[in-house]
Assembly symmetry: C2
Homo-oligomer: 397 residues x 2
Amino acid sequence: MRKLFACRMDHVHRSFIREILKVTEDPKIISFAGGLPNPRYFPVEQVADATAKVLAENGAGALQYSTTEGFLPLRQYIAERYRKRFGMQVDPAEILITNGSQQALDLLGKTFIDEGDPVLLERPAYLGAIQAFGIFRPEYRTVLLEEDGVNIAQLENELSRGDVKLFYTVSTFQNPSGISYSSKKRQEAAAVLERHDTVLVEDDPYGELRFIGEEARPICGYYRKNAILLGTFSKIVAPGLRLGWIVAPPEIMEKLIIVKQGADLHSNILAQRIVWQLLQDHELDKHIRTVRAVYKRQRDLMVEMLKRYCPTEVRFTRPEGGMFLWLTLPEGMSALDVFHEAIKENVAFVPGNAFYVDGGGENTLRLNFSNADEAMIEEGIKRLGKVLAKMMEVYKL
Amino acid sequence: MRKLFACRMDHVHRSFIREILKVTEDPKIISFAGGLPNPRYFPVEQVADATAKVLAENGAGALQYSTTEGFLPLRQYIAERYRKRFGMQVDPAEILITNGSQQALDLLGKTFIDEGDPVLLERPAYLGAIQAFGIFRPEYRTVLLEEDGVNIAQLENELSRGDVKLFYTVSTFQNPSGISYSSKKRQEAAAVLERHDTVLVEDDPYGELRFIGEEARPICGYYRKNAILLGTFSKIVAPGLRLGWIVAPPEIMEKLIIVKQGADLHSNILAQRIVWQLLQDHELDKHIRTVRAVYKRQRDLMVEMLKRYCPTEVRFTRPEGGMFLWLTLPEGMSALDVFHEAIKENVAFVPGNAFYVDGGGENTLRLNFSNADEAMIEEGIKRLGKVLAKMMEVYKL
């Protein structure tokens, strides 16, 4: 019999996290499983005002077909923001508007990955990238993510093999680990990438959500040749609008535009104009300061509660920004087992194993602190601590 | 040296039409080249009202991440409309919201097409599908599109070979030809497809834009097993919102949802809620009646002007709806040559050759009548007629 689907679909299944998130939809459950921004701080009125203005001033333009590259004034804004934040020179022609960063990953997978191509990920790695690239059937390899960024010797070692198609990193407040590269590691990684001319895909959805320490220049600020930088409005404006972007050098951008055109012609132009109008009428930095302050409070409280309620054998990261904390349970303990027990106590998280493409990480788990109010964090971590203590007894640790 | 891009990018270039549309951006040029709806009739105020309401009632819900499948009430509306229009039973669970039909084509290409898979197209075929499927490197085959639909004997013949992965059709007011399948041909095609269990992708962006004759049940109304039906709000609400949908049976939908999730998580939820709200507060049929009346006037005028100004050797379709007229020049004449002359006279169209994946069609061209006012049609067709008459002298026809 003819095969119904393409071979690339053979090993594609519904995401494990997606299934987990379904379980946690029960309103009884305090969920730290999702990766959602806090909707209380969405600029709802600003979006409403901007929409009214956009439609009143050029309704036809906001509702008609538009260019694949995206709304030029919005791309100019993004370029200017890179200049202000990092002194990076980005030409608006090097920016393509996408449907969130997820579409950027899909377009990049399509543009770069042939079946069997080695793609280098961090260990652990962002699940959305694992899925988006995965459909093009690369051979995944990994480099260890340490507390201050990727292990440079391993990176050098992997790239010396000469066949790696691209290296994918979330260099700031990584999902799932919350880890950020130190400035030193950024420069070292850039030097290694430069030496090997490797395609770098640096995904930066969380960089603006820093509440401790100094802003860190992206690795793309040090290495430009085959360097691709992804950004998004999902965490600084709102994710429902599905607006992200790709910064890439001209040779690569030329291909990405063609691929984007085939993929959906262009991103929602009303949404692009709304966001641009909102950025004209309101100070983005002020909004970001509010969000940062809130997330810092929530992160601090979660850290405090973990200290209070969690067995001391459990280690956890103290991220300087972003949306996630990363827990490491004692060796031999299964976060998936803990998950099943935790659900009984009406608290949820994401077991870490799914972030390890080559196995391992069974004793790790991810906690989201952005989309939880303070009462939820207190009560949820208390419940989780109880479950962990009980499980450690079971494991006789 | 390592290859920078994936092999699928080897023969991918900017679309010819895209380059043509650039030429026609010059405001001096009267362009019948695009495929745009008439922006004068976009429901701008209705979109503004709906947005205000959506944001006031549930701003957070409209701006947060959402489900991959799409906004359920909107999918229910779509299902109900199929029931009302054609008596078709569609479960909302069989509907996936996409970023316009173009994304539907991309998701389907990814889900079904392996390199070298035979994909059957109409001759001529819609360029957006040629591009979206093309990146997955199928082997294109074609069946002739006649005045009342595809040639059934050819369809039977091609499907008997047993290796065709899918058949793609725009069965109503086709782009580029304006041709619609007769009711008889729809049923005959369904029977052939059923006999071979072939995957059918029936793209129906224009079906609601009928201004002459009776509504025709989609081929998917007769053949359901591996039948996929595409629809869009681009022509009945507005294209800038990028909202279309796929109707597919459960086994196929399961895969499409996974692929959509990897591609961009979900479509813009604010836009989905806006369209749903607009459909609650306003009668879509009333709006469609207005658009139909306008397009009919423009189509009638274009037909009249072609009769008046065009050499009688030039044949053209009289579509009962949609947005396009299709011209066939005398054998041996090149529409691309005509195009270059026409540009000098400040009138533009799309030469038909690009719609023929296996060559031919050099003497055909597409005219868009939806996005042109009456004065433009009069003057533009007059200019085109002059160019055609002149060119026929050159060709000594």
